[in-house]
Symmetry: C2
Subunit: 150 residues, 2 copies
DNA sequence: AACAATGATTGCTGTTGTCAATGATTGCTG
DNA sequence: CAGCAATCATTGACAACAGCAATCATTGTT
């Protein structure tokens, strides 16, 4: 209905700024993810925690905060939600009673399977303009950009 | 202090999801921009409006909302801010009195020059891991992704 | 035994994204 | 031309979220 707008004059300033594009695309990505996860009662950040837990099997809350880049206080409420949904549990750490060791429940592992395929669909949708080779290139570049953080 | 983490096992699930990477990088990009613009009393969204106005010279508020992807109500308060700072003005549209035509003031145009160089610095910082060729590739890919929206 | 450091938690504050509702204005249509 | 739907800007409310400071229990150090 509007045609390609890469050549529209008003575009030049905003569209040639990779930082701004990342910001905008990140927003869109986030809202798509949240929409897809809504049916499970989860949001993007819950899902990220579940995915992280699936790879390490047992993480301190501090570790979650560091690795995922969330504030420790945010982790608290996110875990409250996951625990209330029966998807994750906090266990005592016999070695250091300050720590809470978070693990996936079987229900959590189960839900992760379907939620994962949902979010894969979102990523597919997001990357639709690109073919497989371009997607691989983009992913490689993004990973290099993300390396400095977590 | 930590070394490259592309190979750490816990990474695989999160780091191989381009959608999630976009989300995280978008967050980081946004906060860097906001930090850089803070000295001017602006936030990222103000700056985006100023930049858009610089290219079109006179835009209805609805046009700003559509093109930049903001809610019309958000545009109202953003313009209130810009107007209070003397950077933009709302003018009457003789053709249709429902419309407010927003234009840059001279001060706005002036500030945009220094703010632009600030934000260029942010993008440079963000893209530091990539050389010039890779940056060009990334920008091209991001533009293709962003085309469907605005 | 005293003290600094750490992990989880609570609380608060400002920003942001969304949505619904309203008032003014315009264009359309019978 | 009278009424009605659509459009634009605006206001208001609300959940989500980031960021920060303060607190409590626990651990390690000296």
């Amino acid at each position: 209905m509007m045609g390609p707008m890469s050549d529209a004059p008003w575009m030049h300033r905003l569209q040639t700024d990779a930082g701004y594009l990342l910001y905008r695309l990140g927003q869109r990505s986030g809202s798509l993810f949240n929409a897809a996860l809504e049916q499970h009662g989860l949001r993007l950040r819950h899902h990220a925690i579940l995915r992280y837990l699936a790879t390490v099997d047992g993480a301190r809350q501090r570790e979650l905060a560091d690795r995922l880049g969330y504030d420790p206080s945010a982790v608290v409420t996110l875990l409250d939600d996951l625990q209330r949904l029966g998807l994750a549990e906090r266990r005592a750490d016999p070695a250091d009673r300050r720590n809470r060791i978070v693990v996936l429940t079987e229900a959590g592992r189960e839900l992760l399977r379907t939620a994962d395929s949902d979010s894969r669909r979102v990523t597919d949708d997001l990357l639709q303009p690109l073919d497989a080779a371009d997607r691989a290139t983009l992913l490689a570049l993004l990973r290099r950009l993300a390396e400095p953080i977590s």
